[in-house]
């Protein structure tokens, strides 16, 4: 994976793992690769991976099991909440960008509907 060097790497690692969980690449209860393996896969520092995992643990997205490694939470509620959070982030960005172009709320809805309809035709 390619990192944006302007954004803290630990933050990008967290987002990467969030996405893997949401799309199901990492299923509930799955074991994460060992810290060093993750670092090698992502070509990042071990300390940075540790920091990212530390935050994911305190957010209860992953659960450490002593001597066994880190596992994706099996709590569906936590995963649902995470998914909602990421969707909201995307929507917020879209909403703010469109507002800066002076697009009103009603227009946003109709533009989105038109866009989705067009995308369907292309497919």
């Amino acid at each position: 994976m390619k990192f944006d060097d302007k954004i803290p790497i630990y933050y990008q690692i967290k987002n990467y793992i969030y996405r893997q969980i949401i799309v199901g690449e990492l299923a509930p209860g799955d074991k994460l690769p060992a810290v060093r393996q993750l670092a090698v896969n992502l070509t990042v520092n071990v300390n940075t991976v540790q920091r990212a995992l530390g935050e994911l643990i305190s957010e209860k997205i992953i659960e450490p099991q002593r001597g066994k490694g880190n596992f994706v939470t099996e709590d569906q509620g936590t995963i649902e909440k995470l998914k909602k959070l990421l969707i909201t982030q995307q929507l917020q960005e879209l909403y703010e960008n469109l507002h800066q172009l002076n697009v009103t709320d009603t227009e946003i809805v109709s533009y989105l509907q038109d866009y989705i309809a067009k995308r369907k035709q292309v497919q």
Partner: protein, 237 residues
């Protein structure tokens, strides 16, 4: 966290010319640190002073609580050590030499790295491409079990695939408490593995910063930050 490298009031002159002035630097155990600076800024000199290869500086350099030169040499693995070999020497002979001279050299670790990096040991030193030579240097340097690894510009003039392999092997084989000090003037490729950057400018340590702090505080890439310092666009703390 303990300090692995401590440099206090280091001054170094060569041929009546001041090379390094009033250098103070502390590096904690376990850190991977990028030593950045223009060509001729003094990066190699600083590494040679830390390793005890260059002599005659004033001030104090302590490495893993050692300040005598022989003691320091036993806790530091320096990439420059390969320069002493004759160019027609075969690689397998060089490996035997490392096994004989360094009690902390692990043949097992070397073989693992050599397999990963695909080092061809039947060749002579002079037959190696630039990239293959750097792979060998990394393999030999990291196969010693020491507290500090000094890697002097390991990425000069090599292709991006080789660079990636070398970076991966650094991540893979660095022990948790070891310090890696890696010098470069080409930052973006190694930025993602650095805990800290130390920038040498005007014969001294201009700044020492955490890599993640540069990203979060200035929303800048390491390369950008480094360039802004050399171009004189100082950023206020």
């Amino acid at each position: 966290m303990t300090n692995t490298i401590e440099i206090k009031n280091l001054n170094y002159r060569k041929n009546y010319r001041s090379i390094l002035e009033d250098v103070n630097l502390t590096i904690e155990s376990g850190k991977t640190v990028g030593l950045l600076g223009e060509n001729g800024a003094g990066k190699t000199t600083l590494m040679r002073l830390i390793a005890g290869v260059a002599k005659g500086a004033s001030g104090k350099i302590t490495v893993a609580n050692q300040d005598g030169v022989p003691e320091k040499k036993s806790v530091i693995s320096f990439s420059e050590q390969l320069n002493g070999f004759s160019s027609n020497m075969r690689i397998d002979k060089i490996i035997r030499f490392y096994e004989d001279v360094y009690p902390d050299f692990s043949t097992k670790k070397y073989n693992e790295m050599a397999g990963f990096l695909q080092i061809d040991e039947g060749l002579r030193l002079s037959a190696l491409s630039r990239g293959m030579k750097e792979k060998l240097v990394i393999g030999l340097t990291l196969s010693r079990d020491t507290k500090v690894y000094l890697l002097d510009e390991p990425f000069g003039g090599i292709d991006s695939m080789t660079r990636k392999k070398i970076i991966q092997s650094i991540i893979k084989w660095k022990s948790d408490d070891a310090v890696i000090l890696v010098s470069d003037h080409y930052v973006s490729e190694i930025a993602s593995i650095l805990d800290e950057v130390v920038i040498i400018k005007d014969r001294t340590i201009y700044t020492q910063k955490s890599a993640e702090e540069i990203r979060s505080k200035y929303a800048e890439g390491i390369e950008q930050y480094y360039e802004s310092i050399y171009e004189g666009n100082d950023i206020d703390d």
